[in-house]
């Protein structure tokens, strides 16, 4: 077994998101220290300098698209908000919700909550956290849970998560848990969300079950 952290863990360490085990390992390992010390920036090249102008232009266009997308998303998310999931506490408007976008081939459409998915379909989630500031996406498997994504989101409005997931060819449904919270979740809190599906002011979770239909390799 490899005694060193992965290069991903080392690079996260270098970018400032290290866990304590990686940090301790780097302190005492010459090989991993050597990797971190190689991460020195070269001189700022001309091709990179030219990107500044391009990004300004890109941003002005992206604002137009963002505005259009937000208008469209507001309609879509409002349409699929299940009434049973409305947050009961007074003073909070609505409850968190998730819209699932499914890409099959070149076509992208909103998942209706029932249509079977096919191997190769790509899923992307748009969340409306209704006041929560973090979202965690977890895949539920027979013997364990796997965190697929965790990150901050805008508490108000909708956010398209910056990841998509491909449906594999294994048999059995895909079970996904989406947990909204106001601070990072510990593994115990994630497990508790899996078991209890809490709908509280601190943690709000919902489970998606995507039936899989064999069809494509």
């Amino acid at each position: 077994m490899n005694p060193h952290p992965s290069f991903l863990a080392l690079d996260m360490h270098a970018l400032g998101a290290s866990d304590s085990a990686t940090a301790a390992h780097v302190q005492s390992c010459a090989r991993c220290q050597a990797h971190c010390s190689r991460l020195q920036p070269p001189p700022f090249p001309e091709w990179a300098r030219q990107l500044d102008q391009q990004k300004r232009s890109f941003r002005s266009w992206s604002r137009v698209w963002q505005l259009a997308a937000l208008c469209a998303a507001a309609v879509v998310v409002a349409a699929i908000l299940p009434k049973s999931l409305r947050r009961p506490e007074p003073g909070v408007k609505g409850s968190p919700s998730v819209a699932v976008y499914m890409k099959r081939g070149a076509a992208v459409r909103l998942w209706d909550g029932e249509e079977p998915v096919l191997p190769g379909d790509r899923l992307q989630f748009k969340v409306a956290p209704a006041g929560f500031s973090r979202v965690t996406v977890v895949s539920l498997e027979a013997d364990k849970t796997v965190e697929l994504y965790a990150g901050e989101v805008a508490a108000l409005g909708e956010t398209m998560l910056p990841r998509s997931w491909t449906i594999d060819g294994e048999s059995g449904p895909e079970l996904i848990l989406i947990v909204f919270s106001s601070s990072p979740l510990s593994p115990d809190q994630v497990q508790s969300a899996v078991n209890d599906l809490p709908h509280t002011e601190r943690i709000w979770s919902m489970r998606l079950r995507l039936v899989k239909k064999a069809g494509r390799p």
């Binding site: 992965s6 290069f7 991903l8 070269p42 294994e170």
Partner: protein
């Protein structure tokens, strides 16, 4: 420093090292690193938290490197790649040896299998890390790695003949 230069100083070394692990210390690695950084800057992901940012960098640079590897393998032909592999003495460095094998198999490995192979064998990611980066289920990863072991084994037998 401008926002762009800060992003470059912070992210480009990580991208460059990642590309060198996949492609060697070559002009191709520099090209893929440059392409990855351009995409990063245009995507806005550079402002994300380090965990999201690193996963994005790994995913994008791996997929761009795969485009390059497959293109190169198609142009050179598999036979030539195998001859090239046989002419070099593997074993001195496991990572280097595995890189040669994956480069030689790039034309015949399915994209997803090649992506998982690069992340697992060269970047030494755990299966949970690969799931996060490549956005596939751990079951798929296990299946791909099993198939990869079989392919590499049969490839090594073929090159020994």
């Amino acid at each position: 420093l401008s926002e762009l230069e800060r992003a470059y100083r912070r992210c480009f070394p990580v991208i460059r090292e990642k590309c060198r692990r996949m492609l060697g210390d070559t002009g191709a690695a520099d090209d893929v690193a440059q392409e990855t950084f351009v995409k990063l800057w245009k995507s806005g992901v550079v402002e994300s938290d380090p965990r999201t940012l690193t996963a994005w960098l790994y995913r994008t640079s791996t997929r761009l490197a795969i485009d390059h590897l497959r293109d190169r393998a198609r142009r050179s032909g598999r036979t030539e790649a195998v001859d090239d592999l046989v002419s070099q003495k593997p074993g001195l460095d496991d990572a280097l040896d595995m890189r040669r094998v994956l480069q030689s198999l790039a034309a015949v490995l399915p994209r997803q299998e090649l992506e998982i192979a690069l992340l697992h064998r060269l970047d030494q990611l755990t299966q949970d890390e690969i799931a996060r980066v490549a956005e596939v289920s751990p079951r798929t990863i296990r299946r791909c790695l099993r198939r990869l072991d079989e392919r590499v084994k049969s490839f090594r037998k073929e090159t020994m003949r």
